[in-house]
Structures are given as C-alpha cells and as structure tokens.
Subunit: 639 residues, 2 copies
C-alpha cells in the first residue's frame, strides 16, 4: 500500500506566478482571432479595431419632416412679406429622406403653410439647416470601437449601420474537461449504490468557463486507470487550449493525474498552500495549461477560480473584472492556519447600518455553501483567524442590493422556514437567509444583534409554555415580539414498518436501538431530555445519546439510510423521507423578532406571508402542523 | 397632405404607470413556466423552489484517506500501548468511499502504521470521526434554492448532485420585432442609393431583449403600407408576449403604427414627454403590450429601455437590477427643456479625485453616442439644464474601473489618435476617450483641467512655429509638456480626378467650387485663414466659407458624397475615402499634456505607445505623415 505525499505546499501567489510565467514563455498568450458574421458577434471581443465601411448617413438627409428648399429662395421672408414657393421650388421630405443637390435647407412642416399648391414661408431658411450631413453619425473609416471591446447591443447596431458584415474577434479558448473516478456517474437516480457519486464538477466548471468567455467540452468519465487517463489526455490535447482533469488529484491511490501530466508534458506544482484547494496540480502539455482540480466541489471551484480564470482572461486579452468589496463584521470566530491562504464562503446581510458576514459550513464537500454564498473572505497566509465581531473585507459575488433586502433567521430548524423564504422572495423580493443553530443558538444570536429573527420552540418544564420564559431571561432589556409560526407534532421517527416496534420514549432504553440525538441547545434536545426525565430514563441508557445532528431532516435521513434506528423530530421530516412516525407531543414554534433591527415594511411583509393563503396551504399539505395561532402575536416585551 | 399631430405629451412616469396598470388588469404578469433539462438551465430563473431529490452523500462516506474501524476496538490505544487491528477489523478507504455498517469511524492514513498486515493505532478513534453523515451536504427534500433564483454554475452543480434532472423555470418572454419602412434594407452594401437606410434597430432591440432574459424574433421588413403592417401584427400576435413596431411612429406620412394598434387592440399613449423618445406609442393587443419605437436609434433605445425593460422584468418575476450611480461634475453646459424628462448620454472619466461627465452628441441619429456612452444623465421634468461645472448623478452602464483607467484627449482631430487609442487599450488596458473640439477647444479644456491631454497644431504666423506661443499665452502658470505625435501633410481634398483642376488656394476664389470649412478654433481653420491672407483672398470670395464641419473625415466625406467640391484637410482623410489630394503644407501635430492631472504610469504608457513599432508602422502605412520627431518632448513649461 504505497501512498504518495504532496510534493510541496506552494504559496498561492508563487504558484500562480510560475504558472503564468511558464505559459508566457511558451507564447501561450498570443491573441487568437477568427472572423465571424456581425449578427452573431454579441458578447464577443474585438480582436482588431472596427472601422466603419460606409458613412451614416451616406447622403444628405432631412433631419425633420418638412420641405427641402434652396435657402437663397427664401431670403427676405417674414410674416408681413411671406415668400411663396411654387411646386418646382420645394420638395416634401420626411425625416431621413434624401435631400437632392438642388436643395440646401429643410424647413420644418410646422413652419410652412400650403396655399394653392404653393408653400408659404414666413422665415428665411439658413443654408444647411435641418440637414444631416454625410457622416454625421459615422464617417467611412471612423474607428467605431478599438480592439478588445466587448460587443454589446449598441456596438452591434453601429456595426450594422456602418455596413460591417464581418468582424475579427478573439477566438474563445476551448477548455477540455476530463472527469476521472471509478465511483462517478453521469446522472443521479433513485437507486444509486453506496459509494457512487454523481459527477457534477465538470458541469460547474463548464458553466464557469462560459461565464469567463471560454467554451468547454467534457470528455466522458475516465475510470481510475492511468493508461486510460493518458489516452484521454492525448485525445483532447490538440484541440483544447486548456486541459482540466477533475478529481484524482488527492494523495489517494487513484492519483494518476500528476503522473500523466509529468509523462505528457511538464508538472509544475502539486500541492498549493490554500484551504480549500490544497491538492491542486498545475502543469503544461505542449505549452498549454493543464490543471488538476480536486474532487471536492468547493476545492474544485476554488482551484479553478484561482488558476483557470486568470489564464482564460489573459488568453483573451481581457482584464479580470475588479472585485466588489464590502466591509463587514464577522458574526462568528473564524479559525485559520497561519501557513495557508484561507477562503471562507459567507452569507452577508445588513443589520441596521452594518453588514454582517456569516461563515458558511467550511466542509469542502458542501456544494450548498457555494449556492448560499454571497461572497468570499480571503484570510491571507500569515494572518491568523478572526475573532467574532472583528472587521473584514468580503469579495461579493452577488449584488449589494440583495444584501440590503435580506432577513436573517437563526435558530431552530423547521421545514416551513423554506416555505417562508420562498414566498418572501417571490411575493416581496425579500431574501430570507436561515441558519440552523437550535433555539438557544437563535436566542444567543438575538442577544448579539446578529439576526433579525429566530425560530424557537423551547419548552418551559415548569409551566408547560414555550419560549417566553427563555426570552424574558435572555433578552431582559430588549424589545422583542413573539409571533407564532405554527404548532407542530414532535415524535419518534423510525424506519418504515417500525421494525423495533417502538411505541414511545420508554422503548428507547433497548440498547439494540441506535438513537440519533440533536445538538445541545436545540429545542428538540430540550424536549428529549425532558421526556427522558419524565420517564426516569438516564441518558446513559440511550445508545447514541451523544451522536448529534443539526436538523430534523438530517436525523430523518440517517434513519432512512440505516445509520440510525430512531430519532426525535417533526412529522414533516418523517413524511418528507417516507418514514414512520410515532407522535409524542404537539409543540408551539414561534418566531422571535427584534423590532429595532428589522425594517417595519419587512416585518409587515413577513406577517403577510405567514398569514397568506399560499403559506397556509403549503404547510397544511405537508401535514403534521396546526395553524390555529399562525401569525398571532403571542407576546411582546414592550407593547 | 394630411399631417397627424401627437395626441399628447404624456409625462414619463404617468405613461409607465398607465402601461403597467393596464397590463396588470389583463393579468399579463402571471408567471409562465416551463420544464427543462437541468443541464440546459444555466442562466434561467426558477419558477418554483428546487428541492433535493436525493441526499448527498446518500451513504456514510469517508471524509479522509485512511482506514475504517469500529471505534470501540481502538479504545485505550496510546503511543506506549498501541492497538493492533487484524485485517478483518479494518478496511482501507479513500475520501468519498462508503463506510459499511460494521465500522463507525475513520482514522487518517497519516495516523496509521502497517506492520505485518496489521494496522497499528496509537490514538483511540471517536465514534463517527471523519465520517460524512448521510445528507451532510444535502438532505432529500431540502430546498436548495427558492423560486426566482437565477441558476448559476453552483446551483447547477448542486441540482445535479441532488439528482434533479428537470426543473421548472420561468418561460422567457418572446418579443416580436417588426421593422417598418420602405427605405429600410436588411444589410448594408457599397452601392446603396441615397435615402436607403440599413435597418439596425431591430438587431439592437433583439440584443437588449437577450440581456434582459427575453427572447426575440424579427419579422421581415414591412414597407409603408397600413394593410401590410396590420397583417404583420396579426401574424405575430398569438405567439409573441410583446410586440414591438420599429419606426413609423413619427408624425410623418408613414405613420400607420398607431392606427394599426388602435384597430387591433387599445392605443394607450402616443407621444411621451421625454427627449429623446418623444414619438413613442404604447398600447395593448389581446392584453399583451405593444410598443411603437421611434426610428432614430437613440430614441428607439431609450423608449425600449424605459418601457420594454420594466415590462419584461416584471413578466419574469424579476427585479430590475439597481442602477450604479456616480457623482460627477459636468464638463459642459447642458441645456434642457422644462417640460420633458431629458436623457443625456455622457462619457465619464476621472481627473485627479473627481469624475467628469462629458455630454456626447445629443442627436437622436448618432448611434456612436450609445457606443461611446459610459452612462446617462437624467434631467427630470421640471428641472432646468445644468451649468458647466455643476454636479450631477450619472447612471453608469460601464464598470467604474474603466473610468479610472481613462485618459481624456480633447482637441484637434487626427486619424492617428484612433491608433493611439487602440494600442493603449490592447497593450496597456488604458482607454483613450477623445473629443474633437479643435486645437483651441483643446487648450480651453486644458485651462479648465477637463482633460489630461490635447491634440494641437496651431501655427504661429509670426515665427512659423507651432503651439508653444499659444500654450505660453493660455497656460502661463501651469506645468505642461508638449510631445510631438507626428508631422502631417495638410492640403486640398478634392474629388477623384480633380474635376475643377484645383492646384492651390488661389483657385478657390472660383465661385463654382463649393468649399467646406472647419469650425473656428480648429488648427486647420487657423491655417486656412492664414493661407487666404497670404494669397490676398477675402473669405467672402469663398463659396462655403461659413459652412463648417468638425473633423477631417467629415469634410472628406462631404467631398466624396458631392455635397462639397473641396476642403482643407490631412492626406490621411483623402486617402481613407479614396479622394485626390493637393499638398499645401507640412505641419507639426503635438500632444500637450498636463502632468499634474495624469498618472505618471499612464504618461509613461502613452509615450511608450507613441514610440512603439506598432504605432509607427500603422501611421506609416497610412501615408501623409512623418515621424521624425514622434515621441520627442518639444517643450516643457517647468523642466
């Protein structure tokens, strides 16, 4: 069992510099051109200046609706002594009409009276008035746009006007993407085997190529076999301007990528001091760039962004667009290793006058972090991590206006929050960003003014009520409003057919039953601990008490996939994954809102959505919910 | 001869409000959906939330390269008392591999030694360490993205990962564009007749539709005939979500557009209080929007932007992206009529710390103003115009970084300035914006610090030198540098074959010869006046002395198109348009640069380009130029 170790951990800027220099040395960046039809040039980049082929207008043209005259014929005209022109001394013209040489001025129709076939003029015309001279817009040989102009609607219209039928544009670089891995499938299905993975990276990278002005094609999936990978590279290397090998770049046994590059060309770098992205490979084959991107989607995205993007832009003679930066406060502590450039994906939202950055799950396998991310925090090599509350600069990848229209909901997880988010977006253009931190996590976020609202369902064992006791305790001096979202059934989620015949909490002390718990601070955890005490069961008797997940759907998924046998959760999760459900209790799930942090019209929109027919319908269809108090103000600390 | 008059001059916001309300009343804005393959969904907009169909991972997966173990088997392991696992007690796994139920932890390969087939462990494993739980990334039924999300590369990858194969997306609105006008041609050619116009508006509007997420198709050109236009509208109205009729909306005789709309549906508005754009028409046919856009390209663009854009965005359930605004100082006075909303296209450049807005030619027929424009100044109805130097807000349509990399050259016109611009752009990513204001205009701009440099060729009759006398006079207290761009031949531009047998200035007193002059302040005008005095000819003896154009190419175009017989200008213009040329004098053409306004590295780039082989070659190939002093510093006021 031989394991390769990374050649090195090359610092980011050093790796990029070397890569670009080697390509430069191979004259890779000389501009490649092609001639295309003007009508298919939208979005393309001019490789040479566009010169007008024809003037516009190419004839003296009337700038008005009126009559063309010889100006000298109208001299002396006044209200008292109008000049009368016979039919052969004037010509009716509309805007854009040719004004023949016999005329040198146009009089607006509003200034002309017609009497018995004569045109009556009361003001002399000035020579060349209201005549567009030849080339007023464009003169033949005018440079309409210089090299490297991106052709938009207006350039297109101007080129057509100037009788340009063909253009010389920059050839789009062609990127060959080779996915490798025996475990990969082209397409997901309902009956995938454990260990099988849908190959999605190539699709993401192809889409990124398109965004950066390149074209990409995908080689079919290559199983883990060095010779087959070698053949795939040979197959694409002549037509492609860049080769990208997806996956196979870890130090795992499937790592043939670096060997294949070394054999076919030159291996420059294996291993880069970034996180994520470390196992990246850079090389050249026939003077063209080859990039080995890691298999984890976030690593793949980052490596592609860091190395493919600058190469593809430079290859097209283009500048990479400047980053849009925003100054933020980080909501949570962010750890970072001193020796690497770290890239942390974040949500960003505006809370009052400040922007807060919320680090997303940093797992390199979490594709949803890319979907959710509003931007990236780059912690440079040599910098330490960031303390909660400290300031940072975020590179935005969404328009800032979206951040201004964002509500942040941190706290307990419920499926109906997704319905809320969807309806707020479609009906009110408000984005709801939610993070699952459990009910107590939500309250702590409220305390730190780091969210606009929190989803909470915390049982007070003393009085059987929910939430209010906790909020009074933790937010004693703050105004807050508690609005009911819904009531929901909590119960035991078990496999279809309930193989262990679980009927209630008492059955969980059976040690064969693998229980899956929720994290401390979750309302469901509070409930579970309460139920255990109620039944006099010690946590130690529960097999799996210390194994935790963060959402209702996650525990249900574990039961579904047989990594656990039972979990406490809501009916909706059991139903979503087609599992059995033993109801235990109905609980109240509320939203706690801080009115001093939320814009009044957004609070209004939120209430509207909760009370809307669409929301009620979607929740009811799902089942396991009651809407008797939905939208009611349960309590307010200040009204 | 019957002329229609505009029904009214409806204020902009009133027209838009009425238009949107009528469409709303016709339930036009209900979202239309279609199902498409996930792989062709890039750039599309979700019509309903995307829910994961499958969890990812859908099995417990190793998060590391290493071995899978049953954690309890490793309890007690330490450096002193390592635990040795036999082959049947562990399993080699790579990142992403399935971890079967017999194992509940993964130990990283770096922490394992292999001795005689046994795995030697020196630290106990914690249950579930380095195992990605089912659904860590995505749980089946998770909402990946809410309605109205635009699908980018990351959404696409996530959907594929979640085994989503089809999506419900917003149907792209289909726009039918009908160009009308007997004078229109589909395509420009070299032998167009006077009065014929290449139809370019439909191409511009189609490209704009694409930018706004809609699709467009073009009906063939309809000649000016009310019945034919009626038939065209009938032909497209069922499939299209919006009908756009190009041209024919002026009050000219070809105006059938409003009549056709009125007959087929409802005419809402004819005539809007904007400039440009006034003759716009708004209506509904079968509850769908119909827009009659004026024939002038700038009017067409503005009307489409003001009325089609909000409708098309709303039809897709989308928000119009927020405008990027920038605070500017206007370089020139901008007149505006009180009763209309005026839209003025401007160039914007940064001069030191301030942004200056330079109004472009406001003629509605000038397509190049749209190409050149960096943004739009909106002068609202009820506001008066702006004085030179006053502040305003510009809506940018180019990235701000381009404005920061812009050099402004105002002054005399020479074709070689286009070469400079092209090479600065392609080699140094610096944009050169030039405006023709004549040499004196350039000097006045320098005096007001409104440009970085000026092209000048002003003869001092006293000493025969160029420029220095003028600069010393007008910029007495300013640092300036005068760099020679080139020498050029000035002479008389005449028709091919020189039909009037013109040999020199003295021949111009022949009254049959239609001369075309340059504007006062142009170096060529100064030269012409000097030559007239030298020959003792009075301006009154020159037929056309008072008829003026602003560039060398414009006067040459007039000669080419027989609206003039002769003009003074540079050889390059005569050559560009294949005209004859009678050389009169060689003059020096310099660039006067203000070093306190230009970034040192931009000045350096400018000098590099002037001295570059590429520049010298392009200029030499053109002919009529001498490069003996090109790039030399002729004078400096402060060195």
């Amino acid at each position: 069992m031989e394991r390769k170790v990374y050649i090195k951990n090359t610092p980011l800027e050093q790796a990029l510099e070397l890569f670009l220099k080697e390509l430069e040395d191979n004259a890779y960046f000389s501009l490649e051109k092609e001639r295309i039809e003007v009508l298919s040039s939208l979005g393309r980049i001019l490789a040479s200046p566009a010169y007008a082929r024809r003037s516009s207008p190419h004839y003296p043209a009337s700038a008005m609706d009126g009559i063309a005259v010889w100006a000298a014929d109208t001299y002396g005209a006044s209200e008292i002594n109008p000049v009368r022109l016979d039919k052969d001394k004037y010509m009716e013209v509309d805007t854009g009409d040719y004004v023949p040489q016999a005329y040198d001025a146009v009089i607006m129709i509003e200034d002309v009276n017609f009497e018995q076939g004569q045109a009556v003029i009361i003001k002399p015309a000035v020579p060349w008035q209201h005549i567009r001279s030849v080339g007023e817009d464009l003169v033949a040989m005018d440079m309409i746009a210089p090299s490297l102009t991106t052709i938009g609607p207006y350039e297109l219209a101007s080129f057509v006007t100037a009788a340009i039928n063909e253009l010389e544009v920059v050839k789009k670089p062609l990127v060959a993407i080779i996915p490798t891995g025996t475990e990969l499938l082209d397409r997901g299905s309902d009956d995938m085997n454990p260990g099988e993975i849908v190959e999605s990276n190539s699709k993401m990278l192809m889409a990124l190529c398109e965004q950066w002005g390149a074209k990409a094609f995908r080689h079919e999936i290559v199983v883990d076999d060095q010779e087959l990978l070698r053949q795939a590279v040979q197959r694409v290397k002549d037509q492609a301007d860049m080769i990208v090998i997806c996956s196979g770049s870890s130090a795992g046994r499937e790592d043939y990528t670096s060997a294949v590059i070394e054999e076919a060309g030159k291996l420059l770098i294996h291993g880069i001091a970034t996180r994520p992205g470390k196992p990246a490979i850079l090389g050249l084959i026939d003077g063209k760039p080859v990039i080995g991107v890691p298999g984890y989607p976030i690593s793949a995205q980052l490596v592609f962004q860091l190395f493919a993007r600058p190469v593809l832009y430079k290859k097209q003679g283009r500048q990479i667009p400047a980053d849009t930066m925003i100054d933020c406060r980080v909501a949570r502590k962010i750890a970072s290793s001193m020796g690497v450039d770290e890239f942390v994906y974040v949500n960003v939202a505006r809370i009052k006058e400040d922007y807060l950055a919320y680090p997303l799950n940093r797992g390199a396998g979490i594709t949803t972090s890319l979907v959710k991310a509003d931007g990236v925090l780059h912690i440079e090599r040599g910098q330490e991590g960031l303390e909660a509350g400290s300031r940072c600069r975020i590179v935005l990848n969404k328009p800032q206006e979206i951040l201004d229209r964002t509500l942040v909901c941190i706290g307990s997880h419920d499926l109906s929050i997704d319905f809320l988010a969807d309806l707020l977006q479609s009906q009110h253009k408000i984005r709801l960003v939610s993070a699952n931190a459990g009910s107590m996590g939500g309250i702590f976020s409220l305390m730190r003014s780091e969210c606009h609202l929190a989803g909470v369902h915390l049982l007070d064992e003393e009085n059987g009520d929910y939430n209010i006791t906790y909020l009074k305790k933790y937010l004693p001096d703050r105004p807050w409003i508690l609005i009911n979202l819904l009531h929901r059934e909590q119960g035991l989620i078990v496999k279809k057919g309930n193989p262990f015949s679980i009927n209630g909490i008492k059955d969980l002390s059976d040690n064969r039953i693998r229980y899956l718990n929720r994290q401390p601070g979750a309302g469901t955890r509070v409930l579970f601990d309460y139920l255990l005490r109620q039944h006099g069961i010690s946590p130690d008797c529960i097999n799996g008490y210390h194994r935790e997940e963060y959402t209702h759907l996650a525990v249900a998924a574990a039961v579904k996939n047989d990594t656990a046998d039972c979990a406490l959760g809501v009916y909706a999760s059991a139903r979503a994954l087609d599992l059995d459900f033993i109801p235990i209790v109905e609980e109240r799930y509320d939203l706690c809102i801080l009115p001093d942090l939320i814009k009044p019209q957004y609070l209004e929109s939120l209430k509207q959505v909760i009370r809307s027919q669409e929301f009620r319908q979607r929740v009811s269809e799902f089942g396991g919910y009651s809407l008797v108090n939905s939208g009611d103000t349960i309590h307010s600390s200040y009204l």
